[in-house]
């Protein structure tokens, strides 16, 4: 077994605390100083990466204000859109209502004329 074949497994072993499933691989690592060193390095690397989680970078002042302003602006735009949408609906509804009323009136007039003509 060659060291290069194991490198991916070594990183996973270091990360998840898993064991090498293959007996040959296990035996190789136990007798190979290079793989042992690589495993130790991965452990050290992953430990250092985990410590970064506790680090918090402080953003330049004004970011929170910018975020809240942005949300507010988006909220206002959204409200405007719903008002415009509401007006459009009212307009279309009005036109439809007027057309329907006009049609009904025309039908009424026509039917009365027919009645008069018949009498």
């Amino acid at each position: 077994m060659r060291c290069e074949q194991l490198t991916e497994h070594l990183a996973a072993v270091a990360a998840d605390g898993a064991e090498l499933s293959d007996e040959a691989a296990q035996a190789h690592v136990e007798s190979c100083l290079r793989c042992q060193a690589e495993l130790a390095q991965y452990r050290k690397l992953l430990k250092a990466l985990r410590t970064l989680r506790t680090e918090v970078l402080v953003p330049a002042p004004g970011l929170v204000t910018d975020i809240l302003t942005n949300i507010e602006a988006r909220g206002e735009r959204s409200a405007m859109r719903s008002v415009i949408k509401g007006r459009k609906l009212a307009y279309v509804g009005g036109v439809t209502l007027a057309a329907t009323a006009g049609g009904a009136a025309a039908l009424l007039v026509l039917s009365r004329r027919k009645l008069r003509a018949a009498s």
């Binding site: 690397l45 250092a48 990466l49 970064l52 402080v58 953003p59 330049a60 975020i67």
Partner: protein, 191 residues
């Protein structure tokens, strides 16, 4: 999740605007830190944070609460950062391929200055910054923020197997950058 944050999340889900504002104030630094680690620069990080909270604001009502709020926010941040980096990539066309050697942009720098960065954590931060963004995102989300492979793949828009391959490449490049094995060749540009 601390009780105070959980209370704010519940209130915000119910439409309480001031609770959402309090959530923003409580989590901005943490979100910015992740955004900065993913994008590698302040300008992009600020844009990513703004977009993250806009999406969070729109989606807070759908947040089910079965995951931690911070994890939910990290996932949105990761997605926004991936989009931001995608836009940058389209504009600049200079993104490094996954396997490209890490290039030292200041080869003439004083070696003593490099020696100053002897602390492993500092060197790690520098090495992370030098990783191609596609690799950096995966290793930061998995090994620093402990997101599962599935979530990482979903937010970055890649397959789970691609995420795992990138993670291995990132870890390998970082290890080679920070440590040397006996007989291991290190690309001079990568040191």
């Amino acid at each position: 999740m601390p009780d105070e944050l959980a209370g704010l999340v519940d209130a915000a889900r119910g439409g309480d605007q001031s609770a959402f504002e309090a959530l923003v104030r409580a989590t901005t630094a943490d979100t910015y830190t992740l955004a900065f680690r993913l994008t590698g620069n302040e300008e992009d990080a600020r844009d990513v944070v703004q977009e993250t909270y806009l999406r969070a604001y729109k989606g807070i009502g759908k947040f089910r609460g079965d995951a931690q709020f911070s994890t939910w926010l990290y996932r949105i941040t990761a997605n926004c950062a991936a989009n931001q980096l995608g836009r940058r990539k389209r504009h600049r066309h200079d993104d490094l391929a996954d396997d490209a050697p890490i290039e030292d942009l200041s080869p003439d720098v004083d070696p003593s200055a490099q020696a100053e960065a002897s602390n492993l954590r500092e060197r790690l931060t520098v090495a992370l910054d030098d990783l191609p963004p596609t690799l950096r995102s995966v290793v930061v989300l998995r090994d620093v923020y402990d997101l599962p492979h599935e979530a990482i793949a979903a937010e970055l828009g890649i397959s789970e197997s691609a995420a795992k391959v990138r993670l291995h490449r990132a870890r390998k490049q970082l290890r080679e950058r920070l440590f040397r094995l006996p007989g291991e060749e290190v690309d001079a540009r990568a040191v």
